[in-house]
Symmetry: C2
Amino acid sequence: MTNEPGLRERKKQRTHAAISEAAIELFLRHGYDQVSVAQVAEAAEVSRRTLFAYFPAKEDLVVHRFADHEAESARVVESRAADVTPLEALRVHYLDALARRDPATGLNDIPAIVALYRMVFETSSLAARMHRFQAAAEEALAGALRETAGLDELSARMAAVQIQAVHWTLTIDNAMRLAAGESADERYPGAVSDTERAYALLANGLGHLGAPDSR
Amino acid sequence: MTNEPGLRERKKQRTHAAISEAAIELFLRHGYDQVSVAQVAEAAEVSRRTLFAYFPAKEDLVVHRFADHEAESARVVESRAADVTPLEALRVHYLDALARRDPATGLNDIPAIVALYRMVFETSSLAARMHRFQAAAEEALAGALRETAGLDELSARMAAVQIQAVHWTLTIDNAMRLAAGESADERYPGAVSDTERAYALLANGLGHLGAPDSR
DNA sequence: GTGCGAATATATACCCAGTGCAGAAAAAGT
DNA sequence: ACTTTTTCTGCACTGGGTATATATTCGCAC
């Protein structure tokens, strides 16, 4: 049951970690575009070819650290209590993540994390890769809405893309502010109220916005 | 007044067009990834270096054809009548574009256009590039909402990302169906009703979705 | 522990996208 | 016709990513 990993497996994990750490260290120090994969491979003491066996592309050296959150929204919707709407469950979960300073909200000011986020947003190829994660998250969330909230295909997809777009925008906004020097604690109240306002818009719609003044 | 373009200018335009056409022709015939820029340059009878003077990257050979629509939503919002909400103006405009079989809605079944859309969606680097246009469109729309609808920064951004996400999803859905063989006329009624339902969701919000059965 | 098969690592040599540079070609102005 | 300025081209180079063939290393049996 202990299921001993075996030397081969352990070595693979160590190599994976060594490459990833060498990459992040070099990227944060010199900039993503200024560091070649050859340099990363050398720092990690592996061949260039081996590096590509572990990470299919240079971008993955960075974005693999974000990969686990793909299905998070879907999980929240699926595991919500019976008397809670999907949107309400997501709102509570996001607020809780803010309170926990979950990096996935952008509201974590550990320097290494701030620098990582800044790098991702400033490097267009990395940002593009993040968008592909977004697409996966959208699909998972749409599936969860279809199956646990009884939504038809179209409504589920539309709801999912709106929710993901809003989450992403909130998260970027937090990360940008921290990158500009604000501390997580300073930003926290604003992040909460922005989240509440954004969810209110999601819940109540945009229909009333920009209506002609009724004076 | 006639402002004669001059030989130089005319030649540039012809070269630009020749490169673009050669590229599209080869890409559609053999696939985007199967054709190198060297082959495109050869077909257009220009040097590789000249090709890159006209198109900064290989992807631009394709996506420059979509570049004009970046600010369309923003324009619609800005030029709406005084008694019309932004969302209503956008809805009317999108429905009109559907009726006109505007390629920007995905609802145009001219074979070359269908094939082009299919290629863009199937080629991840092209799809990524399209997402960057989306980002530009979002920013423009957010600006228009701020300035002509009196929205605060946060509401404008949230509304813009939601609207763009919905537009994009509707458009992709149409294009995918046409790529699968449906004709534009067959798809039209469904496209209209999907658009109406999507805009209803945008206008009225997602708050009521997935609420526990009230029986 | 010896030896064998499978997995993994490496070196080498490619392809392709994109850039810098120096000089040829060609259009524009005189 | 001559000069200036812009554009085009060839060449060489960087860097990401891949194919192939060979060398290492681990796991496992005996």
